[in-house]
Symmetry: C2
Subunit: 246 residues, 2 copies
DNA sequence: TCATCAATGTTCGATACCGTACAGCCTTGA
DNA sequence: TCAAGGCTGTACGGTATCGAACATTGATGA
């Protein structure tokens, strides 16, 4: 393992994106000059529904959502992506245009952006990248399948708890910016429903919140309120994104 | 185009599975001796949750479900697979064991079963198979993402109508075996809820049903009752599984 | 031809969530 | 320092769906 010299535009002590961090050093070195740092600001749209995908994004922190937009304008989250993943799954499969809209929910410092052509080329060349992307796709699929079941079986409160835990894990802090409006959109429920749920959780001292900020104050207990889907998906991610033996 | 002589174990006038049908003739010829015909009987389990996946299945007709099983035993459908696809998506990604349970919902005459090792080997060799599988994965992902959104936004009646239409398309007939119990499981609702929904649909002459048989009698109108997800997914499948230019 | 059982129908109160509206409260910035 | 706007709280009737029984019907096979 070589020592990195922190530098503007470089990885510092290594990329904080977990997928990039799993790459063998020489593959990472080849990828780096192809990527640019992109700040992640609140509500920033990374891929617009129906528009061509030019870049995929490896977040270093923050949380992004992949959403589906219905014809009546309602938007609902179908997948959460943080520093454990990459935004632009459809493009990885060879899709030209985005299906739904992908946007930043919880702002982060930045993400690494990679042009889709460069990505495809590197995917051909490097076995490490291919293996890591494959693993992420597996984990991603498990997550989406679990969410499909979750949405049809579990109550809003359980799903809300799950979402808060997932977000906490991804931002790496107990506290993060989050409005009820946003949560309602994610969960596909009305905002007043979220108000009631959060009040209930705050009453039991599982969370604190006010004016666009939210904090998980009792994770273990919140996990008990959440449905099993949280643990199921987390286990899967840990298993698939564990350090590789290449 | 050569003329096929129908024979035991052969494709007859060509495979009825749409993915196999898209394969270039010589690739199909190479694949055929590796596959076996497997009858699809009602409630037959193709992949057991947590068990190793040995074979993937290309249904010629009938409808299979990929499900997720919760710890309380409740099972819910997360994806529908008919002759437009293949059962065993996770294995295609390199997974060893099934995540949920895959089983036959509407019986069909048979499916083509292919050993997972043979499949992997062929995937390396043949560009046609790789391209077709890639396309199916794209369509599959769109379907699952749409279902995730659908389950969190749309009412049981809309989703029920959607499911009936999808099933009709896959079996290729307006009438097929289907119990309320089964429908309830698919949709993640109670059986009495399904009773009410079906009565309502039958009253409007959109369907007929009795004792384990169901028939769509007015497709266009039923599509109006269904949510937009039916059309969205269908469009995507038609686009991606159109004849290829290899 | 009858017994059996799968499939369907029905009931009841309970509850989660909706749709819509409006009121109050912080924070920000002009 | 005040206005504006984003965020949160609350209210209300209405509907969908739940959970758990029990009743009824039709197909099947002994």
């Amino acid at each position: 393992m070589t020592t990195f010299v922190p530098s503007e535009g470089g990885f510092g002590t290594g990329p904080r994106n977990r997928l990039l961090a799993l790459l063998p050093a020489q593959e990472l070195a080849r990828l780096q000059p192809l990527m640019t740092r992109v700040p992640l600001t609140r509500k920033q749209v990374l891929h617009k529904a129906g528009a061509p995908i030019h870049q995929i994004y490896f977040p270093n922190d923050g949380v992004c959502s992949m959403t589906t937009v219905m014809s009546d304008g309602r938007m609902v989250e179908v997948a959460t992506i943080g520093n454990e993943g990459v935004v632009g799954i459809s493009a990885i499969f060879g899709r030209e245009t985005a299906n739904g809209e992908s946007l930043v929910q919880v702002p982060g410092t930045d993400a690494w952006a990679l042009g889709i052509a460069d990505f495809r080329f590197e995917l051909e060349q490097s076995t490490g990248l291919a293996m890591i992307i494959n693993r992420y796709l597996q984990a991603f699929l498990v997550m989406v399948l679990q969410s499909t079941a979750c949405n049809s079986l579990h109550a809003a409160e359980e799903r809300c708890a799950r979402w808060l835990l997932m977000t906490r894990d991804r931002v790496g802090r107990d506290e993060f910016p989050m409005t009820q409006e946003l949560l309602a959109m994610m969960l596909g429920v009305r905002r007043p429903t979220v108000t009631l749920i959060l009040q209930k959780l705050a009453q039991r001292d599982l969370i604190r919140y006010s004016r666009g900020r939210l904090a998980v104050t009792n994770g273990p207990e919140l996990e008990r309120v959440s449905c099993e889907c949280y643990a199921a998906v987390q286990t899967e991610f840990d298993r698939l994104l564990a350090p590789l033996h290449i």
